[in-house]
C-alpha cells in the first residue's frame, strides 16, 4: 500500500499562480504518467512533491508501509531518506566525481560520512559494490571508472543514481529527453522490472506521449495547474478534452 496524496496544494510566484491542485494521489499503480501541455505546472508539482520548492500552501502526505509522513515540514534530503526520489529534467551531475564514485555516493549511509569515519577503515559492503558493478555492466558507459562526458551518459547516470537509492517511489521528470532511443528502452525495461521486484512505484512526466501510452498503467492529465482528467491510458487517449487541450482549443 503506497499513496502520495496532495490536497489544496498551490504555488505562486510573485502572486502569479502556477499550480492550484485541489486533490491528487499517486502510487496506486506501479507506473503512472503525468502529462499536460506546456506550462501546465508538471515540473513545479514534481519539485513541490520532493520539497525542492516550498509550496505557497497545501498538504502533501506520503503513506508507505503503514507509515504516515507529512512532507511539508521536511527538507528535501529528508524526503529522499524516506524513499521519495526524483530524477532531473535538466542535466545535472557532480563534475568532479567519476561515474562509479557518483553511484557510491548514492549508496553510502550517513554513518560512513561523519568526521569520525574519515579515520575508520570501513568500506561499502561487498553487496553494494556488486550492485554497482552489476549496473555498470548492464548499462554501457564509455569509461565506467572515468567521468560521464556526453549528455546522454549524464542523464543515464542521473537515473541510475536514483535507482540505486532503492526508492519507494521514483518521480521521473522527462527521463528520455537527451537519451538515445535504445538506452530509453533499456531504462524503461529496468524500471518496469524493479517495480515488480522491489515493489517500487514510478511517476513519469514526459512529453513523448508514445512512451506514456506504452508503459503507464494510469495517466494523470494536468492543465493550467489543475488535474483535469485521469484514467487508463486508452481512456485518456480517447478523451476529447485531452486532444483539445494539447491542440489548444
Amino acid at each position: 500500500m503506497m499513496n502520495l496524496a496532495v490536497r489544496n496544494l498551490s504555488k505562486s510566484y510573485h502572486q502569479h499562480p502556477v499550480l492550484n491542485l485541489t486533490q491528487a494521489s499517486f502510487g496506486k499503480h506501479s507506473i503512472e504518467g503525468l502529462i499536460g501541455p506546456n506550462g501546465a505546472g508538471k515540473s513545479t508539482l514534481m519539485g513541490l512533491l520532493t520539497r525542492r520548492i516550498p509550496p505557497t500552501e497545501g498538504s502533501i502526505i506520503f503513506e508507505v508501509e503503514d507509515k504516515h509522513h507529512d512532507l511539508i515540514p521536511l527538507s528535501s534530503h529528508q524526503v529522499a531518506q524516506i524513499g521519495l526520489v526524483k530524477t532531473n529534467q535538466r542535466i545535472q551531475g557532480f563534475e568532479s566525481l567519476t561515474i562509479r564514485d557518483s553511484l557510491r555516493l548514492a549508496c553510502t549511509p550517513p554513518t560512513q560520512e561523519t568526521l569520525k569515519s574519515v579515520f575508520s577503515k570501513e568500506q561499502l559492503s561487498e553487496a553494494v559494490e556488486a550492485e554497482i558493478d552489476d549496473y555498470l555492466s548492464r548499462f554501457t558507459f564509455n569509461e565506467p571508472d572515468g567521468y560521464a562526458r556526453s549528455a546522454g551518459e549524464k542523464k543515464l547516470l542521473d537515473i541510475l543514481r536514483c535507482l540505486i537509492l532503492k526508492p519507494k517511489m521514483l518521480l521521473m521528470d522527462e527521463p528520455t529527453a537527451g537519451l538515445p532511443e535504445d538506452v530509453t528502452q533499456q531504462v524503461m525495461q529496468e524500471i518496469t522490472r524493479q517495480t515488480k521486484a522491489n515493489d517500487m512505484r514510478i511517476v513519469i512526466v514526459e512529453h513523448d506521449l508514445e512512451l506514456i501510452w506504452s508503459f503507464c498503467e494510469y495517466v494523470h492529465f494536468l492543465v493550467d495547474g489543475e488535474m483535469l482528467f485521469e484514467g487508463k491510458p486508452e481512456d485518456v487517449k480517447a478523451n476529447r478534452v485531452v486532444a483539445e487541450k494539447y491542440l489548444g482549443l
Partner: protein, 298 residues
C-alpha cells in the same frame, strides 16, 4: 638563528591556514574571506585571557577554541545558505568587524597601544622556540594527514558532491546543511587555534596584525599552489611566503634604500601572480588532486 626559527614557525601558521582554506574553498566551495578574523579572534582571545585575566596558556587555549567555534557556528548559520558572492562579502565584513572591535574595546585589548607580553606556554630556555616550532609542525602535519584521509574518504566524496551541486546531493538524501556547518565550524575553530598559537609567537599583539592582507596572502598561496590539490596549500605557501618572507627579505642582500620597497614589491607580485594563475592556470601549479585525478573543466 632566532629570527629564522620565528620565520619558519610563522610560515607553518600560514601553511595551516591555507590547508584549512583548502578544505573550506577547494573542497567544499565556501569562499571564506574572513580568515584573518578567525585567526585574529583566536590570537587576541588568548592574549586577553593570558595577559589581562591571568589565565595560564592551556585553559586560555581551550576557552579560545570554544569561543571561536561558537562564533564560527553562529556566523555559519547566518551565511552558509547564501550564494558565493554574498558569503565572500559577509566573511570579509566579519573580519573587518573583528579588527575594528580590537581597536575600539581598549579596556579589553589595549587598542592601538598593543597587548603584551604573551609568554610561551613552557620555558625550555634556548630550546623554547625550536620546541614550539615542533609543536606547530606536528599540528600542520596532522592537518595534512587529515586532508589526505579526507580526500579518499566517503565524507570527501560527499564534500566534493556538495561543492559541485549541493541541491542534487540533498536530493540523494544527504544532509548538506549539517555537513557544511560542521566542517565550517571545525575549520574556522582550527584557524582560531592557529591564531591562539601565534599569540606567544608574536608576543606583542597590535590591531595592525589584523589587516585583510593576511587573508589575501593565504588565498594567493592556495590559488597559486592549486586549490583542489591536497598539497596545493603547502606548495603555495612555500612559493609565496618561503620565497619572499624567508629568502628575499631575510637573506638576499638588498641595498637599504631599496629594502623598504621589498614588501610592496612582494604584494605587487602577489597580485600579478594571482591574476596570471587565474587567467592561465586556474587550477594552480599542481592542478587537480592526485588522489582522485579529477576532471578538467571544459
Amino acid at each position: 638563528m632566532a629570527y629564522l626559527i620565528f620565520s619558519i614557525t610563522l610560515m607553518l601558521v600560514y601553511i595551516g591556514l591555507a590547508q584549512l582554506l583548502h578544505i573550506q574553498f577547494g573542497m567544499l566551495g565556501i569562499p571564506n574571506f574572513g580568515i584573518v578574523g578567525f585567526w585574529g579572534l583566536g590570537m587576541y582571545s588568548v592574549g586577553v585571557l593570558n595577559v589581562q585575566w591571568d589565565f595560564s596558556f592551556i585553559p586560555a587555549l581551550i576557552l579560545t577554541l570554544l569561543l571561536v567555534a561558537l562564533v564560527a557556528n553562529g556566523l555559519g548559520r547566518l551565511i552558509l545558505k547564501l550564494e558565493g558572492q554574498a558569503m565572500l562579502c559577509a566573511t570579509l565584513a566579519f573580519s573587518a568587524i573583528v579588527a575594528l572591535l580590537v581597536i575600539t574595546e581598549k579596556w579589553l585589548t589595549e587598542g592601538v597601544v598593543g597587548l603584551g607580553t604573551i609568554k610561551y606556554p613552557f620555558d625550555a630556555g634556548a630550546m623554547t622556540e625550536p620546541l614550539y616550532f615542533l609543536i606547530l609542525l606536528l599540528i600542520v602535519v596532522g592537518i595534512q594527514l587529515f586532508i589526505n584521509k579526507l580526500h579518499v574518504s566517503r565524507l570527501g566524496t560527499l564534500i566534493f558532491s556538495i561543492r559541485d551541486n549541493e541541491e542534487l546531493a540533498a536530493s540523494l538524501g544527504k544532509d548538506t546543511v549539517k555537513i557544511k556547518l560542521e566542517l565550517f565550524t571545525l575549520t574556522c575553530a582550527l584557524m582560531g587555534l592557529l591564531g591562539a598559537l601565534s599569540a606567544p609567537l608574536n608576543q606583542f599583539l597590535t590591531p595592525n596584525m589584523l589587516v585583510p592582507s593576511v587573508t589575501f596572502a593565504v588565498w594567493i598561496a592556495l590559488i597559486l599552489g592549486g586549490k583542489e590539490h591536497s598539497m596545493g596549500a603547502v606548495l603555495g605557501v612555500f612559493i609565496t611566503f618561503g620565497l619572499f618572507d624567508l629568502l628575499i627579505e631575510s637573506y638576499l642582500p638588498v641595498a637599504p634604500e631599496y629594502a623598504v620597497m621589498v614588501p610592496n614589491f612582494k604584494l605587487f607580485l602577489y597580485g600579478a601572480v594571482l591574476v596570471a594563475v587565474l587567467m592561465y592556470r586556474p587550477r594552480g601549479v599542481l592542478g587537480h588532486s592526485a588522489a582522485g585525478a579529477r576532471q578538467e573543466l571544459p
